[in-house]
Amino acid sequence: MNTVAVRKPATGGTRITKFLADNGALVGLFVLGLALFIATPDFLTGPNLLNIGIQASVIAVLAFGLTFVIVAGGIDLSVGSVAALSAMGSAYMFSTAALPGWLALIGGLLVGTLAGAVSGFAVAFGRLPSFIATLAMLSVARGLTLVLSDGRPIATSPAVSFLGSNIGPLPMPIVVLVIAGAVAALILNYTVMGRYMYAVGGNTEAARLSGIPVRRVLVTVFALSGLFAALAGLLLSGRLDSAQPQAAAGYELDAIAAVVIGGASLAGGVGRISGTLIGALVLVVIRNGLNLLNVSSFWQQVVIGVVIALAVGIDSLRRKTGNH
């Protein structure tokens, strides 16, 4: 129909409003930081900020990978389990199979990529809804983790432990976070495959009719999600110097929350790595702040839930009012 959306030319005031509306999560993060700065002197200190960075690293790296899947219109529930399986696989290769440490690290990344690719094949060729395929993978990967470890922690290789260490004052997890984010943003924004992800998520049929290899795109996004989940799992085990069988359980929900708080749409076609990073930081800063303020961890869950609902609610309201 002739519903031509017309936007008024941006004057100074509306330009600022538009920036604020388009970057709601960033504004939220800023307000949150300001409130915590006023509420407690412990918030804005070097050690605490590094602490936030370390805590955010695992969630953010998981969420970066998940962003590919969500942009392409899917969902990946298995990232927590795949993270655990990859870490355990790597530790197994080092401790039991006696591979060199660096090879065990790469092996761990391969395990995650492979697990993701399997989900991807199930979605692309087996026509399973991604929710189901990755729900299955969630169970399979966790089960394999338990089988591999016999339910006990296994020591990680030095290369993996290095990921959890510090270089001087700088924690490696933050370095990994920054590099992983940059790589993810590069893939999503600048490669042909990245642009295809937006097309497939925006309209799969139109993408297919334009000659976009939809199945290959689907396998790729899940494989990437698995790769980033593996990296997150290695970070986590590196910090503990051991791979835990129950590591990262339930992290998939935090990762999904981070992606949607960051402005991605579960309907596909919309999402940015920068948004996901902000989403992960929002989650971690809230937890950190509530800890500093001595709020019980039970109540923290309530607060997090409300924040997720608010963030996504405000976002969809904004879209509905046509500010998009």
């Binding site: 129909m1 031509v4 959306a5 017309v6 642009r195 139109a206 009719l209 000659g211």
Partner: protein
């Protein structure tokens, strides 16, 4: 004359700076069929949405039974007895007929559905239009025509005294149309007022009483439904047909065979179809909806699989079900429904133009953003896509500009065989002519065009050769310069399969 059930009195509607309805008046009388006639984009849909309470007029009044009313939503209009039968039916396919008819107001007893009463109500509703169906049947298992009748029954069971029928015949066969018209006749006899939208001029005389003609959102005239078709076209278009279809044949090169389809058959839809298309030529695939035209085009484009036969471009056979290979061979496909199949509506014009060429212009998998953008800009300017800038979401463009965006993708990909499926559907008059000029330009440059179209004037006006399809077969070929609407139609309704069986029986006896 009786008091109108509903009157639109000089209503006006704008979306932003675009005025889509400008001071239009329409009366709907009990027991009369009021036809709204106009080209796509003339404002018919906006008008009926105002009647239904979907849109509210910016100016003018809406009167029901002579009293001014405000219709803030569809509930308000339904409460006044106004029901709309949309092109996209509002039925839940996975629920039974009975459940659909009582949807939203299921008879209950202590919170449980009173199934017996629900079924009785449904049977009574179906009886209103003389329909005898098993009310436990799932709606999804019914054909589109039956579904439409169920929806009409549902409206009547809501005590509707005015029905808005938005292109109800678009997806029906002739037999189904006849059945629908019997229902309409019956409703007319019972004093139900109706608004009828159709692009088929012959239906107007068959079913209408009075015709309101709209052009570019303005009221042009109200004439009796018996007005002859040429006059209706003149009122509707405001000019002669000749100017509407500016087909020029300017290709002077070799008439090389670009596309060759041999014995193409798909599961259930296309039956042994063969044809060639040459450089500089427009071949139209005409026929009724469901004749298999779209299926041919989709199979050629690599979108759907086919059982037998072959598709070759420039003598080289294309693999089945491989869109990428078809594109590389020079095939461009403008699909039937640009919103569902052609465009990523939330993505920018720039992105949408580039999808087919992102990979071939990339370096080491990295998108050539600057080059892609300047190429997209160039082709968008050539096609005169009216947009704010290349980053505007394509979903916010008008229908014509959206369609030009799909074309732009294939111009950029330098496709030489263009498969156009209803290329001007939902496109306003001005953009239509621009699309025709584009077709002229493509063929002048030595391209070949296959055009599926349900609009006969367009087929006769733009094609060089017409292949008429019926029941999955090509039932005949016509030269466009000598073809008439009647000739096309008689081929379109020919039952090729039965003719063959008759021939066989004759041979055997």
């Amino acid at each position: 004359m009786s008091m109108p059930i509903l009157s639109l009195d000089r209503v006006t509607k704008s979306f932003g700076p675009v005025t889509v309805i400008d001071g239009v008046s329409v009366d709907v009388h009990p027991g009369k069929v009021q036809v709204l006639l106009g080209e796509n984009g003339a404002g018919k849909s906006t008008l009926i949405k105002m009647m239904a309470g979907v849109y509210q007029p910016d100016g003018g009044r809406i009167l029901v039974d002579g009293r001014e009313v405000v219709l803030p939503d569809t509930r308000a209009s339904e409460a006044l007895g106004i029901a709309t039968i949309h092109q996209e039916l509002n039925l839940v396919g996975s629920m039974s007929i009975a459940e659909n008819i009582s949807l939203g107001r299921m008879p209950g007893r202590f919170g449980f559905v009173d199934r017996r009463k629900m079924k009785e109500d449904a049977r009574a509703a179906l009886a209103l239009i003389g329909l005898d169906l098993d009310v436990d049947q799932h709606v999804g298992t019914l054909g589109i025509a039956r579904q439409q009748l169920v929806e009409i029954a549902k409206a009547l069971s809501l005590d509707a005294r005015m029905l808005i029928l938005d292109e109800p015949t678009a997806a029906l066969t002739n037999r189904e149309i006849a059945a629908l018209f019997r229902v309409v006749e019956d409703l007319r006899a019972r004093g139900v007022g109706m608004v009828f939208i159709s692009h088929h001029l012959d239906e107007i005389a068959a079913i209408g009483d009075s015709v309101s003609v709209l052009r570019d959102g303005r009221f042009i005239a109200e004439v009796p439904a018996t007005t002859d078709e040429d006059e209706l076209v003149r009122l509707m278009v405001g000019r002669d047909i000749a100017q509407q279809f500016p087909r020029r044949r300017e290709y002077a090169g070799e008439p090389e065979t670009l596309l060759s389809v041999r014995n193409l058959s798909t599961k259930g839809m296309v039956n042994d179809v063969s044809f060639d298309v040459h450089a500089g030529e427009v071949v139209a695939l005409a026929g009724l909806v469901g004749a298999g035209r779209t299926e041919v085009v989709r199979a050629v484009a690599g979108v759907d699989p086919y059982l037998g036969g072959s598709v070759s471009v420039r003598g080289k056979e294309l693999p089945r079900l491989d869109v990428g290979a078809a594109i590389r061979a020079g095939v461009g496909h403008v699909p039937e429904d640009r919103k569902v199949q052609g465009l990523v509506l939330g993505a920018s014009v720039n992105d949408n133009i580039g999808y087919a060429t992102l990979a071939s212009t990339s370096k080491a998998g990295v998108v050539d953003f600057a080059g892609q953008r300047s190429r997209a800009k160039g082709v968008a300017d050539t096609l005169r896509i009216r947009m704010r800038d290349l980053d505007q979401a394509v979903g916010s463009l008008s229908g014509g500009n959206q369609q030009k965006t799909v074309f732009a993708r294939w111009i950029l990909a330098e496709s030489s065989v263009l498969l156009l499926d209803e290329p001007t559907r939902g496109v306003d008059v001005g953009a239509k002519v621009e699309i025709y000029e584009l077709i002229n330009a493509i063929t002048a440059a030595g391209g070949a065009v296959v055009m599926v179209s349900s609009e006969l004037p367009e087929v006769l006006g733009m094609a060089d050769r017409i292949l008429v399809m019926s029941g999955g077969h090509i039932s005949g070929e016509l030269d466009a310069t000598t073809a008439t609407q009647d000739a096309v139609m008689s081929l379109a309704v020919r039952d090729v399969q039965r003719d063959r069986e008759d021939q066989q029986m004759k041979d055997e006896s």
